[in-house]
Symmetry: C2
């Protein structure tokens, strides 16, 4: 049973369809394309892992951590023949996506850190709560190799449309904060090389987003600052969006994408901005790879407004490369982990100049 829905248009104005399949273990598999998916599933499916996690409160950092012991057994760097993100071939081994073809696929993680229904708010002082939320994997395409830079622009437009669909559904389900992200490269702990990202839906507002919401509510206006930073910190721009090294970057060569007009999330982008976003996601990755002369390991995350954020929250997409130079990896060590203070060797204004070339 495959249900196709027209979810809107992409940055080029083309219709985008979501075709939904529900696995026997209840997990959703979603195929995004410019047409309804025309082929039935192949039949072979993988099963959800046993066990669910919990949140525990760190009494000295005043933060919630997620405990998900089932993840210790998760798939770890399978060889090419067992790519779990590849299309399933009839008669072949099951993969995560029980279809022989697809353009862009999203499925619920079999080893989720967050899962289950929305929890009630914990009693005051409670030290434990269920790890409610949702974890999805976003497979950028059927290709086993590549990056945001090697995807076609059409595929990146689909990716942006899929993110917006996930925001819409996850907020409607009551999740408080939704984080699409990508870990790229072994230095970012990536266990599967097939190009993909992930989405975590939290049932609470994480501390970083809570701080941002406070800052925006207090009047910080990022869009207004972009103009001041243009000369010294901007690396490229397109269609109302700017790519810049934030003057307060925490990682060497950190870059952000933001719009010159205030937007709460990519769902607020107009068509020109949606198209520029799809373009720049590839251009930033390409610029890194050109500059470092190698596939650049990075962490990318979309910082959109939490569901119930107050006015003023402004959306940014943040890239944290894990290199200090071509052959030097950026490690996080004691100072950062023990104090929360980042020590930065590469000045953002210098990084911007280097990356502008």
């Amino acid at each position: 049973m495959l249900t196709s829905t027209l979810i809107g248009t992409d940055g080029a104005g083309r219709s985008v369809y979501r075709s939904k399949h529900i696995n026997q273990d209840g997990r959703h598999v979603l195929l995004y394309a410019h047409a309804p998916h025309a082929h039935p599933p192949t039949g072979a499916e993988l099963d959800r892992a046993e066990g669910s996690g919990e949140l525990r409160r760190h009494p000295l950092r005043l933060e919630w951590n997620i405990y998900a012991p089932a993840r210790q057994d998760r798939t770890y760097k399978p060889d090419g023949a067992a790519d779990p993100l590849a299309p399933s071939q009839p008669g072949g081994p099951a993969t995560e996506i029980p279809f022989a073809t697809f353009d862009l696929a999203v499925f619920e993680n079999r080893f989720p850190s967050l899962s289950g229904a929305s929890a009630d708010a914990p009693a005051a002082g409670a030290q434990l709560r269920p790890a409610a939320g949702r974890c999805e994997v976003v497979v950028y395409g059927p290709e086993r190799e590549g990056s945001l830079a090697t995807l076609t622009i059409d595929r990146r437009r689909l990716l942006v449309a899929a993110w917006n669909d996930r925001y819409s559904e996850m907020f409607a389900a009551g999740h408080e904060f939704v984080l699409p992200f990508e870990n790229r490269g072994e230095e970012a702990g990536v266990t599967l090389h097939h190009p993909h990202g992930q989405i975590y839906a939290f049932d609470f507002v994480p501390p970083v987003q809570a701080a941002s919401a406070r800052a925006f509510a207090a009047g910080f206006d990022l869009a207004a600052r972009l103009n001041d930073w243009r000369q010294d910190f901007e690396v490229m721009n397109a269609g109302g969006l700017s790519v810049f090294a934030p003057p307060f970057a925490r990682f060497p060569f950190e870059l952000w994408i933001a719009s010159r007009a205030p937007r709460r999330g990519p769902w607020d982008y107009n068509r020109e901005e949606l198209d520029a976003f799809a373009t720049l996601l590839g251009n930033v990755t390409q610029r890194y790879d050109d500059y470092f002369g190698r596939p650049t390991p990075y962490m990318m995350s979309l910082h959109a407004a939490p569901r119930r954020a107050g006015a003023g929250f402004q959306f940014t997409t943040q890239f944290y490369p894990l290199l200090r130079s071509r052959d030097r990896v950026k490690f996080l060590a004691s100072i950062e982990q023990a104090t929360g203070v980042f020590t930065v060797d590469v000045l953002p204004e210098w990084a911007a100049k280097e990356l502008r070339r």
Copy 2:
């Protein structure tokens, strides 16, 4: 000119002396031993790097970052023949320590992240301030190889005495928070393999310590909880100190050392606790190396009270190993970096049971 001072007694009750030398570039070199240092300096000295850093406020995370571009050029994995932490031989190349012998040495970092005099408080809304503070390197001994576990107990007692001397001097100089720490192993970004740690003195209270101070002020009593956690979370104990996996650990196999009686810092430890501390620093490291069957990369940090902390702050020493299992490195990736929420695969109670064996 070498000035020797009796600074107190170590965990075994032996006198500890600090012998101070001032380099031509003004940096202090301190030798700690059970007797005044008897030999003059060798003459050859290294010079402090040019340039000083600054603090910048992250307007969305509401945190200060340290910018120290001079560090990009710092010494990077020199080969054995150029060990900058070895004793200097007369006529040989200069090292960081211009003495032909020493037991335990502390010197001011030539590539400091924090340096200079205490800064005035920044004007409200200021985004920049000088990176005031102090960075020191603690060389555990003249040996080029080894770990906290292979040092003699006498040397570890000296180390604890040296830390207490540094706390005393740095608080007297007006620094607000002092962090002795050690990054061990290449996975922690260590560029020098000669056993050593570091000390950072901050002129502000970092966010992690500010949160802890709030928690302790609100009544969190770690010493009282140790008894509840004994059965499920304790790994070993000695002389009034407990080594345990905190139930809210953020890293797999994370261990803390804490005293059963509340202490603000190691300067509050009585003689029995000082001796147990020197013992346990080695035992924890040895236990990790035995369990993982290899030198275990970790971040270790001493979480003592800030200078002006209110009542109730309790001292802990925290070890964050960087392994999930013998051959799997723990990476920090997007979730942690983008949201501040840690995802933990290894339950602390399971880790405690494993490490107790």
